[in-house]
């Protein structure tokens, strides 16, 4: 059987984690690359719809990461994000979503090492969990879901 490579999305804030990922890259750190990065201006911009849409597109896991509290480029964006995710996670759990498939981190632009480590942890975790069959079982058959990467306006 072919090795399972999970389909995952990483929503990374432009100012910290994305730059942290750059640092990990330029420092030649090795980490598994089984995730599609979507750069967002701020974690505060991440609507809960993004996460559901990711699962709707067959994602096996979603990772959200931004600036450490207090370091937000826009001063307060991640404070709002933190509150939103606090409640949203509880709703997801209550509605039967597997929270192990959702990962939240704060990674600064200087934390290339942390980025590589967390990426490895994330990919390994999702690989071990396998495909998210439970969620995918409610998706309509024979249709590819509208791409999240195009058409956003």
């Amino acid at each position: 059987m072919a090795e399972f490579h999970p389909k995952t999305f990483a929503f990374l804030c432009n100012w910290c984690t994305y730059t942290g990922a750059d640092l990990a890259g330029t420092s030649r750190m090795l980490y598994p690359a089984d995730f599609r990065v979507i750069k967002v201006p701020c974690t505060g911009r991440i609507d809960m719809e993004f996460i559901i849409k990711a699962f709707e597109q067959g994602a096996d896991g979603v990772w959200v990461s931004g600036c450490h509290i207090g370091d937000c480029h826009y001063n307060t964006g991640n404070y709002y994000a933190q509150r939103r995710w606090t409640i949203f996670r509880q709703e997801l759990a209550f509605l039967g979503i597997d929270l192990r498939r959702l990962k939240f981190t704060w990674i600064s632009a200087a934390e290339g090492r942390k980025f590589a480590d967390e990426a490895a942890e994330f990919v390994n975790r999702i690989t071990q969990l396998g495909p998210y069959n439970e969620f995918q079982s409610i998706l309509p058959e024979n249709r590819e879901v509208e791409s999240i990467l195009g058409g956003v306006s």
């Binding site: 309509p140 024979n142 249709r143 590819e144 879901v145 509208e146 791409s147």
Partner: protein, 355 residues
């Protein structure tokens, strides 16, 4: 030859239906509601309610169905596939609906064959047999007798079961009438039916005589002819909250939406139920809305049912089932509103005559 069936023989009927290649759908519990679901065991049939929460409309006009699928290899090479009749219209017996529900598809058929034939509706109608059970009970939302139907009307049914006076506790005997050739064929190819002509339950006639017509659809239509701009619409519809419950639970509401679901390489075009009660229904892309207010939309619903449709097809687009009232979050009773229109029509005879 007179026919009958006993509820003790429903299982025999169900088993023989399966053998004859039919699926049977009948009223069953789903959580706290009742709806038409595939029935394997006679015990799952739930025939005690006056009316199920939703009508069996979905077996004619699917709540959600693919009408087309596409596959694209690049942007120029596209393959379109229409679902096959076998997929979406398996031979089906709709068992145990009320005469008002049986009439629904029969009425809707007029628009579905209007110049263009909607194969999804017609194929289903073709492969579906309706066995209705006459009503021994009615509630205050019922008004079939006001719209040219009755608790024991045969309109739209292929087979009519009339409860007999011969019932003990949970069991019930019915006299059976095959109304159409299709119904006759189903009876001939399945088991559980018996000879006999049990006496009709008197409750049916009691219901019938108690359920006096409460408005005259002809008078209503006359008033609607000139009543488009009447201020009554504004006041009467203030309490409407603008949801689509009335239309979605209605056995004759047939308006639909067409949307594409899919991506760059494959997907489907689907037909979903839609509702004239929602503002998005008529909203232009420019932002202009021909029916911006809920009074406009409510008027459209009543006009469509009691004027436009009768004008086009000589059929009232309503079976008097009363679901729109039972499920309305604010008790907007269609029956009551039509009674009001009936009174308005009586108040303004001159105006109507003058046109």
């Amino acid at each position: 030859m007179a026919l009958s069936i006993h509820s003790d023989d429903f299982q025999t009927l169900l088993d023989s239906l399966r053998e004859a290649g039919y699926r049977c759908v009948g009223p069953a519990r789903d959580g706290t509601i009742t709806k038409f679901k595939p029935i394997e065991q006679a015990g799952d049939l739930f025939l005690d309610e006056i009316l199920t929460t939703v009508s069996p409309k979905e077996f004619f006009l699917a709540e959600h169905e693919a009408i087309l699928s596409y596959r694209m290899k690049g942007k120029s090479d596209i393959e379109l596939t229409t679902p096959s009749k076998e997929e979406y219209a398996p031979p089906t017996l709709v068992f145990g609906c009320r005469p008002c529900d049986a009439a629904g598809p029969d009425i809707v058929k007029s628009v579905m064959t209007w110049d263009y034939d909607d194969r999804f509706f017609l194929d289903r109608a073709d492969s579906t047999v309706i066995a209705a059970i006459a009503c021994v009970e009615a509630d205050e939302a019922c008004f079939c007798t006001s719209v040219e139907l009755a608790p024991d009307s045969q309109t739209g049914a292929d087979i009519l079961l009339i409860p007999s006076s011969n019932s003990t506790g949970d069991t019930q005997e019915y006299s059976v009438t095959a109304i159409t050739e299709k119904g006759r064929k189903l009876i001939d190819s399945t088991k559980g039916w018996k000879d006999g002509n049990p006496e009709r339950a008197s409750a049916i006639d009691e219901v019938k005589s108690n359920l006096k017509p409460s408005f005259d659809p002809a008078k209503v239509r006359e008033w609607l002819d000139n009543g488009f701009d009447h201020e009554w619409w504004n006041t009467a519809t203030l309490s409407c909250i603008g949801c689509g419950t009335c239309t979605y639970t209605c056995p004759t509401c047939h308006c639909f939406d067409i949307v594409d679901e899919g991506g760059q390489s494959e997907g489907v075009r689907v037909k979903n139920w839609d509702s004239c009660m929602m503002s998005l229904f008529t909203l232009h892309t420019s932002g202009h809305n021909p029916r911006p207010l809920k009074s406009n939309r409510f008027r459209q619903r009543i006009m469509h049912k009691f004027k436009y449709y009768p004008d086009l097809f000589e059929r009232i687009l309503c079976t008097g089932c009363g679901r729109c009232q039972r499920h309305c979050p604010v008790d907007m009773a269609l029956k009551g509103l039509l009674e009001q229109i009936g009174r308005l029509a009586a108040e303004t005879p001159d105006q109507v005559a003058a046109g």
